[in-house]
Symmetry: D2
Amino acid sequence: MTAVLLVGEGREYLREPGETLETDLGVLDVPTDASAGDVLETHLGTEFEVRELRGPDLFNHFERTGAPMLPRDIGLLMGHTGVAAGDRVLDAGTGTGVLAAALGRAGASVVTYEQDSEFAAVARENMTLAGVEEETTGGSVDVRTGDVLDELGELDRRFDLLTLDTADAPAVVEHAPDLLVPGGFVAVYSPFVESMRETVETLDSVGMDADTYETIQREMDVDERGTRPSTAGVGHTGYLIFARK
Amino acid sequence: MTAVLLVGEGREYLREPGETLETDLGVLDVPTDASAGDVLETHLGTEFEVRELRGPDLFNHFERTGAPMLPRDIGLLMGHTGVAAGDRVLDAGTGTGVLAAALGRAGASVVTYEQDSEFAAVARENMTLAGVEEETTGGSVDVRTGDVLDELGELDRRFDLLTLDTADAPAVVEHAPDLLVPGGFVAVYSPFVESMRETVETLDSVGMDADTYETIQREMDVDERGTRPSTAGVGHTGYLIFARK
Amino acid sequence: MTAVLLVGEGREYLREPGETLETDLGVLDVPTDASAGDVLETHLGTEFEVRELRGPDLFNHFERTGAPMLPRDIGLLMGHTGVAAGDRVLDAGTGTGVLAAALGRAGASVVTYEQDSEFAAVARENMTLAGVEEETTGGSVDVRTGDVLDELGELDRRFDLLTLDTADAPAVVEHAPDLLVPGGFVAVYSPFVESMRETVETLDSVGMDADTYETIQREMDVDERGTRPSTAGVGHTGYLIFARK
Amino acid sequence: MTAVLLVGEGREYLREPGETLETDLGVLDVPTDASAGDVLETHLGTEFEVRELRGPDLFNHFERTGAPMLPRDIGLLMGHTGVAAGDRVLDAGTGTGVLAAALGRAGASVVTYEQDSEFAAVARENMTLAGVEEETTGGSVDVRTGDVLDELGELDRRFDLLTLDTADAPAVVEHAPDLLVPGGFVAVYSPFVESMRETVETLDSVGMDADTYETIQREMDVDERGTRPSTAGVGHTGYLIFARK
């Protein structure tokens, strides 16, 4: 059962229906049929509104096993590849799982590999929170513990999209032409120039032209003094590399 | 029936199964059961590979009635709102329809308003190409001719997401709190500072805090001389404004 | 007499020749003939090297009466206007005086107006530190207390460059054609879009076409893991507006 | 004698006093005492105004032997190093000479090396146009034909600033500590990540910490529709590396 957000007094809590919220604002049993828009009350009378989890909530509430990919980078990856409901995605490494969850929520069937078994266990719980654990209707995310390079022989090689956020990316993309359907995409997130270049060169060596993007996103300040880009800059996250079979 | 791409000799053609491709490379009847990966041959012996349409293909092959939103901006909108399969989206104005199509392909049910009836007719054909015309399974896009401001009274007011790429945005967002479910998002694409500010101020006046982003995306050049950001810059597209109920 | 930097033990102190440095590292009398490269010793034996003041030192050691313009913005202003030794510059408002000092050090004769008399006094001391107080050889900076708008009638109207970092900029640029030699430049630093636009429109109304620039500067991280733009972004400072008579 | 600009009918011509301008607008003898603001007339009656050459004019009117450094990058170099009148600068390679000319015009004494003797001859003529040929009062630029690496032994090693726009930069910066006064700056313009990194690592190996900057500059569009960053982006030029002795 998908978790819901309880929002009140400027706070947010994530609970599954049937669970109990205990805070200094009182105790609240979340009904098993809680649905978005319901207003619940703690035994001390504090009101919490029930909300469905949305993408940005996953970023904020997932248990983290590393720095998760930012919503903007997940979005850019979705926009440049045009990922759609029904797509089959091969992902490595899972990490916190925000990318896999976002793709699953957009209707894709995602198989994702995480080498660290503890991280994989956390990612599985995160997929349950996101409502995309295996075997639900619509999109789904199957978190597998292991190294995708060891499993390539076992995989049905008909993926629409291969997404990589791992230091192994150059070694994996060498197999991209074998893993993808015609017209399928590779998308790689790569923080450093050197690893980015190695991935681009490997893609080139297997006949796939890469387009690599760097994105600078700034918030705009709009207040009574006027309008301007934020004086607090947003720094570099990673290069996004795209190639198509 | 969803159109397919025919790719060969460095060219791409979009045809529906059952149609005929006639070019200087020969004549080719596209079988009604054509599917991705099939290799077809013209009567002159030129081979074309069949590919499924993907998001970026829509951007390239849709008939245009104006400048369509770039894949990067569509992606950023999806990433920042976390749009998911099953979401209900209200969109205005449709234009070429690339945003509505992308949301529909990610499993959302989209109602989109276009004031110009000829543009709306083109957008409907584009939705057919994208496989998201009304009443298919999964996501869908219902293109309606008209001004969304005139129709607000008629709409079931339970949208997860309100997306606006129209000069009317400030007038529409005034109704955002009535149109959205709790936790639902408004996303507005706004090319100019002045219109962006008017939208942000209107959202503020109805109790919704806005975050506004500006995005600079550059391609990286990777060649034998070295690695560097492209000397051909990518210019401004629009500000993206997000607010949550 | 121009101040010198005393650099040692990872610290920097600014003193004029003849002054005494007293710190926990000991007491040091700065000889009146101290010159760059000399190594001086405190009574406790700590060595300090004498350095000439350079532009970036002014930014770090000037007494501040507000946020000084960044070295990058001063440089951009110098590069876009091509300011040269012998140029006559009219500047308002002085503030901390880093721009006026940089122009004076590049050989220009600068007259600068500061409305706040305490700020003007601080700026005068900063000019002494920079070695560009009035009547030295080479460039010089004459800090005047007052509102440049009140003084326009008194000024000899043959400036090569008019530089403005003041909320009054739109009112001042209205007089730019009267103040400048043919081919002379106006340069305005403007933090907000609205004030920038007002300046650009006023320049247009007096027959001067403006070019307005926004600059994003990022540091690159180069370490053993690889090379990448800094994850700590540098935010917006101000728009730079240039127009030529 | 420094050349002047003749500006009229939307055109600009560069001539030295005493020369003749012959165009379809008529013939005009430039008086030897022509000075800024004079209005001259061709034998056909077309008026030209005399203007002093300024920095941006050098960029537009110098004979080019390669892509000259942009005014913005020259300015950033001047701002980050705080170059001042009287500074001694060692520059390589000269190229078109816009950087050397700008530094000379700001009062610096510049020695610049160009390996290609034809390029060096063009640069010398450009310095004459800019009024900074050797032995004038104020700043000056001495263009020498040769490889700076071969001449290091001959140079008086007391430079305030070492500026490099050459593929040899890593080899030259190895000698930076020997060439600079205490507190003196190295500034390197480097188009590619790989060469930039090699320069940074070499500086590190000789005990000089480098700060490397990348700059994105955009023009703002201000018209009746509104205000926005230009839709025509400005691309990458080069990384700027700064280190201080």
